[in-house]
Symmetry: C2
């Protein structure tokens, strides 16, 4: 996107001369906020002259096409999923220093809706796009590429990303969870897996299987139940369904690694119903450390992914691309940490 | 905004004739998503012809100026406040049927940032704006009016709004809370108030004072502690601070009405520290029913405000204005409900 005909660099005075306006008018016309006081034909003349001369007023703006909106977009799956709030905050805080604004939209995990949003974002003339909605086989990759603007995947990505991807290190997070349970003495572990259609669910399940095997623990395939078996939406209800499925299989386990916190909360409900106590009868670990899980009874042990930093790093990567950096399919995976609370303890004899 | 020179209504064929294009090209050029395949000069010709003839392809679009973006904006204070997720979902689900997209931005309760966002939203050429950020003395009212687009306030509003306002009925919600405690036998109530600078905090405090007085309960002014006394951000920490302040005053109370759920959670922390039991020693009611407060120990009694419906109604009001309806300063206050859980019980003898 950044122009290749930018030598020698033009100055504001060059633009003023070509547009036949006073130099002070150039910056007013180029700033969308001060532009309103000027006559539209004057603004059009300045923009045309600036474009003609490839004039860009500052570092980030230098790389922005003048007709762009000085904003970036982020598409998230669902605004009510508490995972995304800190990611978005990290993005906002990072781009703010560059006087860009952030437009947020949620796709509701609906492909038609996401197509509409991509079209709409393109119409807004955003300068770059953060996508937190990608499935592993991301059918809209073509549309995304056709936008002709920098794109960075965040939190989820397609199987073969062609652009940067910033996420939490799920491999490491799941290893922390398995190691924690093993260090407490658990040898028979179960996993409530998220959907395989998105990278987080898929990679967390693979990581669970790998770490269990590496650790020499019992690796009963029946001890893994997956969201893909059920139509329930992600959340507590899904956790209830999966936990019941797990109990129905009659497989032995003393510890559960859930792919997210809300699934773990669903397990709380089921164990209460069947009269099993956490952690006396079964230990449970969640994932994400969303608000208030430290207040459950017992407080939930979980893996805290650095969502705010993920948002920051994704925004930085996007700003680099907007400023003319080369887009590489690199993955930046930030380290999570174990937050040990009351839902995990040594197993019974 | 809606044109007044729209008689007789033009057809797509009229536009095609004037623009000298094939009729099928008209709809392609007017649809931002299919537009990309066309030459820019063709698109420009069709847009000019459509504008000239005041041609509008459908009901909502009829009222949209062609140069608008087919999107609305919503500015919220803080995306990590769980109150806003269902409001935004209600907005999204409502405008989606009209093929408008929603741009969300969060102001972080920062006026400079909000000014930037208003400028940016205006640059996006949004068709209408929902504002959930207004303080009671809203210094940006002038800028908002200057945008020249329909505006609806949601959840919070200035003291003298000049446009529609959709919110929960705080008066009724607080009355439900006070009546619930009174019906359990409580006669000495305390209130943790939100900031007076926004309408929710202010009106909930007034409603508390009024209902306590109407009910003939003890109305000790020292039993009200307000967020304005402390610099803490809204949330659990603020609840801790206010609850300690309340205890420090030595005023007698057996029940607390908190202005929001997170403040109530802060009370849980303080009472645990000082060895008081909920609800045996003190009953607590929150406000909003945010996710997971039903899982606290004990589960939190709270007032559930219909946030999703608030979002729906606000979006409908905005769509009406976009379609040419007259903007009136009416308030639509939706009824909340009491969700009685384990944090409230009759007081000790």
């Amino acid at each position: 996107m950044p122009g290749s005909r930018r030598i020698p660099p033009a100055t504001g005075r060059d633009v003023a001369r070509l547009a036949e306006v006073h130099p002070s008018t150039v910056s007013r016309a180029l700033n969308p906020k001060s532009r309103k006081g000027l006559r539209p034909d004057v603004v059009a003349r300045v923009l045309a002259a600036a474009e003609e001369l490839s004039y860009r007023p500052n570092r980030i703006a230098r790389a922005l096409r003048v007709e762009r909106s000085q904003s970036i977009g982020i598409i998230i799956p669902d605004i009510s999923n508490p995972v995304y709030a800190p990611i978005v905050r990290g993005v906002e805080d990072t781009v703010r220093a560059h006087r860009l604004s952030v437009l947020i939209a949620s796709s509701d995990n609906d492909q038609t809706r996401e197509e509409e949003l991509l079209g709409s974002m393109a119409d807004q003339r955003i300068d770059g796009l953060l996508l937190a909605t990608a499935s592993r086989t991301y059918p809209m990759l073509h549309e995304v590429n056709a936008l002709g603007i920098p794109v960075v995947f965040v939190n989820r990505c397609p199987d073969n990303p062609t652009v940067p991807f910033v996420t939490g290190d799920d491999e490491r997070g799941i290893a922390l969870a398995v190691d924690h349970l093993r260090s407490l003495g658990h040898t028979k572990l179960a996993h409530l897996a998220g959907t395989e259609t998105v990278s987080t669910g898929y990679h967390r399940r693979l990581a669970f299987m790998r770490r269990v095997q590496e650790s020499g623990l019992a690796g009963d395939p029946n001890a893994i139940v997956s969201a893909d078996m059920f139509p329930d939406p992600v959340g507590i209800e899904l956790g209830v369904t999966l936990c019941k499925e797990l109990l129905g299989r009659g497989v032995a386990f003393t510890g559960i690694v859930a792919a997210n916190d809300l699934m773990a909360v669903g397990c709380y409900d089921v164990f209460k119903q069947v009269g099993l106590s956490i952690p006396a009868d079964v230990s449970i670990i969640g994932y994400n450390d969303v608000p208030l899980v430290d207040r459950l009874e017992p407080p939930l042990t979980t893996i805290r992914s650095p969502h705010y930093e993920i948002g920051q790093r994704a925004a930085s990567a996007l700003l680099d691309l907007i400023a003319g950096g080369e887009s590489r399919p690199e993955t930046i995976a930030l380290a999570p940490e174990l937050i040990a609370r009351g839902s995990t303890a040594p197993p019974k004899e």
